[in-house]
Amino acid sequence: MAKIEFRNVVKRFGAVEVIPEMNLVIEDGEFVALLGPSGCGKSTSLFMLAGIYLPSGGELLFDGHVVNEVETRDRNVGIVFQSYALYPHMSVRDNILFPLRFKKTPRDEALARVKAAADLVRVLELLDRRPSELSGGQQQRVALARALVKEPQLLLLDEPLSNLDASLRLSMRTELKSLQAQLGVTTVLVTHDQIEATTMADRIICMRAGEIEQVGTPDDLYLRPSSLFVAGFIGSPPINLLSGEAEGGTVTVNGARFPVEGASGSLTIGLRPEHLRFGHTGFSGRIAQIEPMGREILYVVETGMGAVRVLEQGSSPAHSTGEQVNIGFLSEDSLVFDTAREKLIAGAHVRAPT
């Protein structure tokens, strides 16, 4: 197990600076997620941890030792790829055994460890099969067993669930999380799926264009997003963002007037769909579309400020399409951002128009 540290790490590919400067500490035994859209540098960071890419500058530390120059094979890192990258010409047993061959583990012990790892991810009965004879979920488990069999000090997961179907993804999420807790191995998950990140990770590192936007627990990122980017990226259905000008304690958004505290200038108001309520007061609109989502119903409401999404509890719609509604919210649930700097203005809130 290891504590991982990025100190001013830079990565360039030719003239392109993929990661301008990265500073990050991952505690021993922690499960963190690198979250961001594709091309944000999260996979590059992962490959630097694995030693496949060398940092162009700065220092990468495992347990306080600089590992910039240490070869991949000496890092004792387990990795699960999006494609699983099983060796197609080997049986499942040989796949899981492969990492142990280079460690000069005695054969009996190695086979015992293969069995233990296969048992851990419940593929014990598949040991004699070829990867091509396995389903996606089984291949994923085998890849996980192969990564875990050498007892790595760091486990890297590169979009491990994105090739699975929806129900399998759900169960693998639960399994991965409990497995990580059971083994206590430091784990870095790379994903573009916010649900994967928020459900599994202890901490989320939200990245954008090679820079870390925010580091925090899933709750932090959801309730106190530090920037417009994080606010828009976390949460499903996505947050409503309304931009307008503040003057004399009121933000005017296309005619609607929101009283504001603690901020002025060009502002963007962030309102999560689940914080919005239909009522007698608030801003008005017309229901354009109704999307039942099982336990909740998503209303898309046409307002003077554009489409606003409202999420209501319940399984049968209490309103119908075309109905005129008023939408209100609690002041403490509102988020206020500086439009130009795209940053959260801490402590600022708006109230619903009356």
Partner: protein, 366 residues
């Protein structure tokens, strides 16, 4: 009121049913006639290719005292051609797959019987005398009369061995070098990579015959003229570009993830290459091995130019001299040598056909 409505409906239904059946029957007829025409075309196209081989084999087993037995040839043709046409008719007439198979089996049996009856009695192994008689040349010459300036023939097995050696060594070198070079071209960026890839193709575009004089001088100066090793080097040089290009396509198809995975699993780059990447391109290696071997086996121009002593003869030179020595008189022996020369290629192709077909799948990408 209800009755007329029902009757019109049923009439309409029956009318449309007849209509559909006619359409289906017409589609069946079109499909069938298309297949029949297609097979006729394929037979017509392949006949000029198949026939010479058929004649070669027939002559090799039937010719006596140096002259091709035209009567035997015509009789064998009289069996072969009707048999092929009968196959075609069977396939055209048969109503089901089972009928087709039964028909084909029946036609094959009749054809084989007719062949045994009409051609069988004239078949013999006399023309293969070169296989067991080292001084077969004098025997053959005594059959056709005295010949001046006769060629000294080495043992045919010696020429056979030389051919195997040239083709085998060439294959071993090409496969090794092409795999390593193609892997590097596929995986690493280095200055001049793309121009190197382009030049690989250009190298293959020129007729190699244009280089025969400079190659001769080069081999002469470095002292490899009239040595098997010299010929092997030349053949390797000409075969490599294409082999590298084919292999690069196969390596490109191996995902990077697998290699990265091997590295994190503790393998060095060399171990990852040998244990994880190479097994993925096995079919490519087999394909270029077979092609290179057959190229070396059939090589004629370079061995003819660069090899002089008769102890260095390959099978192609042996065949050439057999033809030259008997001045085109003993067709039987020439054909028999041809058949003997052909058999290893045939066996190799049949054994490796499965892998050769995959070359188009492995694909050649730039």
């Amino acid at each position: 009121m209800a009755a007329p409505v029902i009757s019109t409906a049923s009439v309409a239904a029956s009318e449309s049913a007849v209509h559909w059946d006619a359409l289906a029957a017409r589609a069946r007829a079109v499909r069938r006639s298309k297949a029949v025409v297609l097979y006729a075309f394929l037979i017509a196209v392949s006949l000029p290719i198949v026939l010479p081989y058929f004649w070669l084999v027939t002559i090799a087993f039937s010719a006596k005292t140096g002259v091709a037995e035209t009567a035997v040839l015509w009789r064998s043709m009289a069996v072969l051609v009707p048999t092929v046409i009968a196959f075609w008719l069977t396939a055209a007439v048969a109503q089901s797959r089972r009928h087709t198979w039964i028909g084909i089996a029946a036609v094959s049996a009749i054809g084989a019987l007719a062949f045994a009856w009409l051609v069988g009695p004239d078949l013999h192994l006399g023309n293969f005398i070169f296989l067991w008689e080292p001084d077969f040349a004098s025997v053959v010459r005594s059959r056709v009369g005295e010949i001046k300036g006769a060629v000294q023939f080495p043992n045919v097995w010696h020429a056979f061995g030389n051919s195997i050696l040239i083709a085998g060594a060439q294959t071993a070198i090409v496969v090794t070098v092409a795999s390593l070079a193609a892997y590097y071209l596929s995986r690493f960026q280095f200055p001049g990579r793309s121009s190197m890839l382009r030049s690989l193709l250009v190298l293959h575009a020129f007729p190699v015959l244009t280089l025969i004089v400079p190659m001769f001088l080069m081999l002469y100066w470095i002292g490899l003229l009239d040595t098997l090793f010299g010929v092997i080097l030349v053949l390797v040089a000409f075969e490599l570009p294409f082999a590298i290009f084919i292999m690069k396509g196969f390596f490109d198809a191996v995902p990077w993830d697998i290699e990265m995975s091997a590295l994190t699993d503790g393998a060095s780059r060399r171990q990852a290459f040998a244990r994880v990447v190479l097994p993925q391109v096995r079919n490519g290696i087999l394909a270029i091995a077979v092609f290179t071997f057959i190229r070396g086996w059939e090589e004629y121009i370079f061995v003819f130019t660069f090899l002089i002593r008769n102890s260095n003869w390959t099978m192609s030179l042996y065949m050439y001299w057999v033809r030259d020595d008997v001045m085109g008189v003993d067709y039987g022996v020439v054909s028999a040598v041809g058949v003997f020369y052909l058999v290893p290629s045939l066996i190799l192709y049949m054994a490796a056909q499965r892998y050769l077909m995959q070359m188009s799948i492995g694909g050649v990408k730039g």
